[in-house]
């Protein structure tokens, strides 16, 4: 269906990520609460891409499967990667001055969540929310 790429290089781009996610979520017909959830998850992942990944790119897609529409977001960076993904997913784990809620929160706010990360190579996080 529809897809769009967006570079994430500044905190203004994080705002753009939220706007693009909102547009797609509305097009997918998500309820207001579900729109809010996926936009919040997108905001968390975009900020991680910026702060820890040194910037990266978002692939935002309007998807359809089995007659349902949804939004899929894939964040990819070529930053330092995460050595212990399980630890990073735990609430309260942060290597910065955050609250360590972003990754775990994004997983809870999504219907699908996957993460691939290799130290020295980068990080790829994909989420989806279905109507």
């Amino acid at each position: 269906m529809k897809s769009e790429r967006l570079d994430i290089r500044s905190s203004d781009d994080v705002v753009r990520v939220r706007q693009l996610t909102r547009t797609l979520a509305i097009e997918a017909g998500l309820s207001l609460v579900d729109q809010t959830k996926i936009i919040t998850a997108a905001s968390e992942l975009a900020r991680n891409t910026l702060d820890y990944g040194g910037g990266g790119v978002l692939l935002a897609e309007l998807v359809e499967a089995l007659g349902r529409r949804g939004v899929r977001l894939t964040f990819e960076d070529h930053g330092p990667g995460i050595s212990d993904v399980e630890a990073a997913l735990k609430d309260g784990f942060t290597s910065g001055k955050g609250m360590g809620l972003g990754l775990g929160g994004a997983r809870r706010l999504s219907n699908e969540f996957s993460i691939q990360s290799k130290p020295g190579e980068g990080t790829k996080v994909a989420i989806a929310r279905w109507k």
Binding site: S11, D12, I39, T40, E44, R47, R108
Partner: protein, 130 residues
């Protein structure tokens, strides 16, 4: 750089967040509020977030920070107008905003601040009926 206006409202300060805030704006707001609390000897800070479509961990941390600093400066922080969808999402995100008081709207938030001022006056006054 643009900034979020801070209005004086009795002995409270009122901030209405109208835009999708980028990070620099949020940081500037924290600093501006701190100096205004001191300048006006404010006893309360009302932050109206009814226009915000989401609150993520960054904004949540900003609200928590503002509340913590205000408390040290003897001012109460009340976040008003949080949308129901935002409240639901915050819980799932895992953000509890423990240090922050909330109210439905600005009027109710103002009442909260006034109520605290009245109770802290009771030391000096005998009669506190209402």
């Amino acid at each position: 750089m643009d900034r979020i206006p801070i209005l004086k409202f009795g002995n409270a300060l009122l901030v209405t967040i109208q835009v999708d805030m980028h990070d620099r704006l949020a940081t500037a707001l924290e600093e501006d509020l701190t100096s205004k609390i001191v300048e006006h000897n404010a006893k309360g800070v009302l932050i109206d977030i009814s226009a915000l479509e989401i609150v993520d961990s960054f904004i949540g941390r900003m609200l928590d920070n503002i509340a913590a600093v205000s408390r040290i400066l003897d001012a109460d922080t009340v976040v008003v107008g949080m949308r129901p969808a935002v409240a639901i999402t915050l819980v799932e995100l895992g953000l509890s905003l423990t240090g922050v008081k909330t109210a439905l709207n600005v009027e109710r938030g103002m009442e909260l601040i006034k109520a605290r001022l009245r109770t802290s006056d009771t030391d000096e006054e005998d009669d506190v009926e209402e």
